[in-house]
Each structure stands twice: as C-alpha cells, then as structure tokens.
Symmetry: C2
Subunit: 316 residues, 2 copies
C-alpha cells in the first residue's frame, strides 16, 4: 500500500511509520519539523520504501505538489498541534495546525482522487462529563481549542465522505505515552525529577484521572480498526482498561527514576491548566466488539513508558 503519513516525524507518527514499513508498505512522510524531529525518522531514511518531505500540511500548494508526484492508496493524517496546553493562549495555533492541515488534506484528496483517510482524533472532542463517553455520545462540547479543532476536522471529514465518495477511519486517541513523547504529565515529571530529584511540582491537585495508552498499543489499534472496520465513516475510541490519576503518574515517574522520598507540591485546582479536562472515561465497547484489546492497561502503560523514558530509549 502506498501511504501518505502527515506528522510522520512526530511522536505517534514516527511509530506508525515504523509499523507501516514493517508491514511492507511505502510511506511518504510529510512533516514540517515544528513539533516532529528528524531523529525520530533517521533510522528509516535509508529505506527505499520511506520518503521524507519537509512540508507544512497546511500549505495547500506544498501539499498538492506531494499528491501530484504519487498516487496514494491511503492518507494517515496525524499532523496537528499535539500540545493541547500550548494552544490555549493563541487560537491560531490550533486553527492552523490542528484544523487547517486537515482541511487541506481533504481538499488535496478530493482533487487527486484519494479515497481513504485515517484520522487521528481525540478524546478532547467530547468535553467534560461524569459518564463514560462512547462514540455516539452527545453533546460534543470540547473545552480546549485543540479539541475544537479536532471536532471541526471530524465535521468536515463527515461531509467530504458523504459528498465525494471518501471513506474514513477516525480514531479518538486518549492520552498517549511512550518513547519519543514530547509533552504530557509523564514527560514533564521525568524531566523535572532529573533537574530536582527531591521535589516534584504537579499542575492541579493531582487527582485528574484519565485513560492512558501506550504508543505501541495505539499504533496497533489504529491499523486494526483500519483493516477491520468497513463502514463509510468509522469512528472508534482507542484505549486500554482503566484510568490513571496524575498522582499515579508522578509515582510511576519517581519509581522508574529509582528515587525515594520525593516531596510532591501542587499548583492546586481540579484542572492542570485552562482547557484541561479533569476527569475523563472512555466507553471502549465498540473497539472491543471489533476484536481489539490493548496489551496494557492505563496504569501499566504509564509505568512501562516511565521506565522507557528513564532508560533513555526515547529515540528508539
């Protein structure tokens, strides 16, 4: 299969590139390296089935040039502003990186007749609420600008599929952990503990509670859904069992670093930052019924990722 992978030098994108190549597919990787890193794809640059194109997916002309050169069977669109918190102060970040990249990809697909789109969506489209969110839950009330951008993308994907004969697989990611991560609570804690192994600052009250998924499980889930789900538009939550509190993440970071007696201090409040969703649960009945199960629970994923970060396997 000839694939276009946007955001392919990023945290999740580069793992997906590894997996697609391992399965024998061709990967044209588009990344502007604003959040992605060359070292995440360095090991693939010699592979004749891998091609790296430094380009901004929001740049219609640059993107269309990529579509003009190759006839893709499928687009995996992962390019986005992956740092939800950073988008909070400047709406244009998520407008351009999260939303506009998707609109440009859809338009290029329409113009060049590419029919299959796998899209990285997010739990942030749901917003807040006590219930476990299933794919059919409403209302969708995103709190973050990132969540708004992703929901806007889903809206346009729906209409493009209905109007232009496209098919889509929309996977709503939870918090993702693992090697090559560039942000998030576990990443921050591990770095802060390196600077100061005695004290750890925690944003919020530590009781924020959400599902975490290991990046290897996520990549497995994405391709499972892509291969098995046959509807015109396939929306799936991807997550393992359970949820993890921020305090548990802090303890996993401390334990993986081999530290003891670290004093936790808290900025307080139920949210880590504006736009943060303090508590979130997924209903994973739909993906479970399709036949997929994550190899690790939420807590196990966090602990494994904590160990990997400390072992310095970030680049692998």
């Amino acid at each position: 299969m000839k694939t276009l992978l946007t955001g392919g030098a990023g945290f999740i994108g580069s793992h997906l590139a590894d997996r697609l190549l391992a399965e024998g597919h061709c990967v044209a990787c588009v990344d502007d390296l604003s959040l992605g890193r060359r070292e995440n794809i360095a090991h693939n640059l010699g592979n004749p089935r891998f091609k790296f194109i430094k380009a901004d997916a929001a740049d219609a002309r640059a993107l269309e040039a990529v579509f003009k050169r190759s006839r893709f069977d499928c687009v995996f669109h992962l390019a986005a502003n992956s740092d939800i918190r950073a988008g909070g102060d400047c709406p244009d970040i998520d407008f351009n990186r999260t939303f506009l990249t998707t609109y440009r990809v859809l338009e290029a697909m329409r113009k060049y007749g590419v029919k299959k789109l796998v899209f990285a969506s997010t739990s942030a489209v749901y917003g807040e609420g006590g219930k476990a969110f299933g794919e059919d839950s409403g209302p969708l009330s995103p709190v973050s600008l990132y969540g708004a951008g992703k929901l806007a993308c889903e809206a346009w994907i729906n209409a493009f599929c209905a109007n232009f004969g496209m098919q889509s697989w929309i996977i709503r990611f939870p918090n993702v952990v693992g090697p090559r991560a560039t942000h998030g609570a576990l990443f921050d804690f591990t770095n802060r503990l390196r600077e100061n192994p005695r004290k750890l600052l925690i944003l919020g009250n530590g009781r924020q509670k959400k599902p975490y998924l290991h990046v290897r499980d996520l990549v497995d889930g994405i391709l499972f859904v892509f291969k098995r789900a046959k509807a015109r538009i396939n929306v799936y939550n991807a997550a393992g069992e359970g949820v993890t509190t921020v305090d548990e993440i802090a303890r996993a970071a401390v334990s993986a670093a081999g530290l003891k007696n670290v004093i936790f201090s808290y900025t307080g409040g139920s949210r880590g930052w504006k736009g943060d969703v303090p508590r979130f649960r997924y209903d994973i009945t739909k993906i479970t019924r399709l036949g997929w199960k994550a190899s690790m629970s939420s807590v196990a994923a966090v602990r494994a990722a904590a160990r990997e970060l400390c072992e310095g396997t970030c680049g692998k």
Copy 2:
C-alpha cells in the same frame, strides 16, 4: 443594547435587524451583500440606531475595524453561505463563508473583549437518522459541507467560551420560510410556477420530510432563548410542531398561486441533491421547557410563506 449583526442584510438577518430595532436596540449590520440585499435593509437606513457596513466577516482586518469603532454588548452572527446546495460542489464556499466568518468573529470578540455571542446554527449538524434529534444527540455526522461548517463553528464556540469567558446562545435553525427568502423548495416552486403554471419540477421524489419554521417565529425564538437561557453555552433547537413533505410544499405553492391541475414531475431518488437530508425530525422539548412555542406549525408556516411570496410581500 449595542449589537453587531453579521449577515444583517440577508433573509433571516434583516428580519432580526427589524426586530432588534423595534425593541430599541442599536444595530451595526455587517454584510458583504454577496447573498444579502440592500433592499432588505433599505427601510432602516434612515434610523439613527441602524448602521450598515459593507464588509466580509471573513476578512479579519475589516472585521476588527468594526470592533475597534464600537464597543458591542452582543454579537448576532448570522453571516454564512445560506445556500446549502450551492456549497456542494466547492468546499471553499462553506469553508470561507460558513466557517471562517465565525472564527474571525470569535477572534475579534476575544481581542476586543466582547463576551456575548448569538449564533445561527442548523439542523444540518445532526446529519441523518430516524430519531428526533435533541440537542444532546450524538453522533453528529453532518452530510452537507454547510452542516460541517456549522458544526465546526459550534466546536470553536465551545472552546472560546471555555477559555475566554464568553457566553453563547447557539440556535439550531430548521428550514426557514418567509418574506425575503432567496432559496429553498418553496422559493423555487413559486418561481417555477410563475414561469410555467402547468408543470412543476420537483427535485427528488417529493417525499423528503422536514420541519419548517416561519422567519418571524424564528426571530422570536432566537431572542426568547437569548433573554431566558442562562448557561455558559446554550444550545437550542428552534422549530414549530410537525414536519412538511416537499409534495406538501409544492401543493402550498400551487394553491397560493391560485392554480389548478398543475402536473408534478420528479427528478427521483430520496434526496433532492447531494448533501440533502431526506427526512429529519427535531426534538423540541428543550426550547418548549424554556417556555417558547412557535405561533405556526410547520405546515402552517409553509402555507403562510407561500401566500406572502405570491402576494409579492417579499420586500416587506
């Protein structure tokens, strides 16, 4: 109240302008006259509380100049590509007119500290399905690019309210009929019967069935929700009782024109065009509980509008 009304020279916008002025408010009307018409607002041009500014709401610089000159208490954002069918072939139409205008309005409100937004949304955000859609229904799967654009707007409005202390009233309009309409089945039928009073072409099979609301009732509902609903984000379906088939609309147009023995011909198929939703029902429990009721049922609204169109009261 000092209001900014985008799309204020359009079909619905101009009726809303009339009503806001009648209630004693000031109205700054922004319209690029691409779909709006000068004759819809001509009768208000001498009113010192009314000001018309010819500008495209998607043009950030032009819009910010408007915000710079006045301190608005509330924005009524109605500017959009109101012709769903026209947007089907060129996604950029709904991208620019339906979606980007909203993003620009939100950004200008954020920059100039305007906190209240009344937004014209649509039943098209729901997509298709046999059930009666309530405000909390999911999934939201818009079929038309217009519906996608409006859902994208709602997503960003949610996040702007959560992050920047804004408050919003999102009214999901059904099909709207009445004087000054510029498109829609009733408008088309009335015009076709003027050209040929013996034969009437109907897109689809005539059995498409949806709720219709008279524009005067809609304007009343918008202001009712704005005054009574007090949440941070207030999402309301606005509709009267019942639904109307396309065949019933055709018969109303024929009857209002005083014609008899008109032969109906059909293009066939369940949809009038790509992106058309053949059957749609609203759940109006929420707006009913708030205390609002349309003065006319769906069928009564269509018949009244048919008479008004034939009586040539379009400009009034």
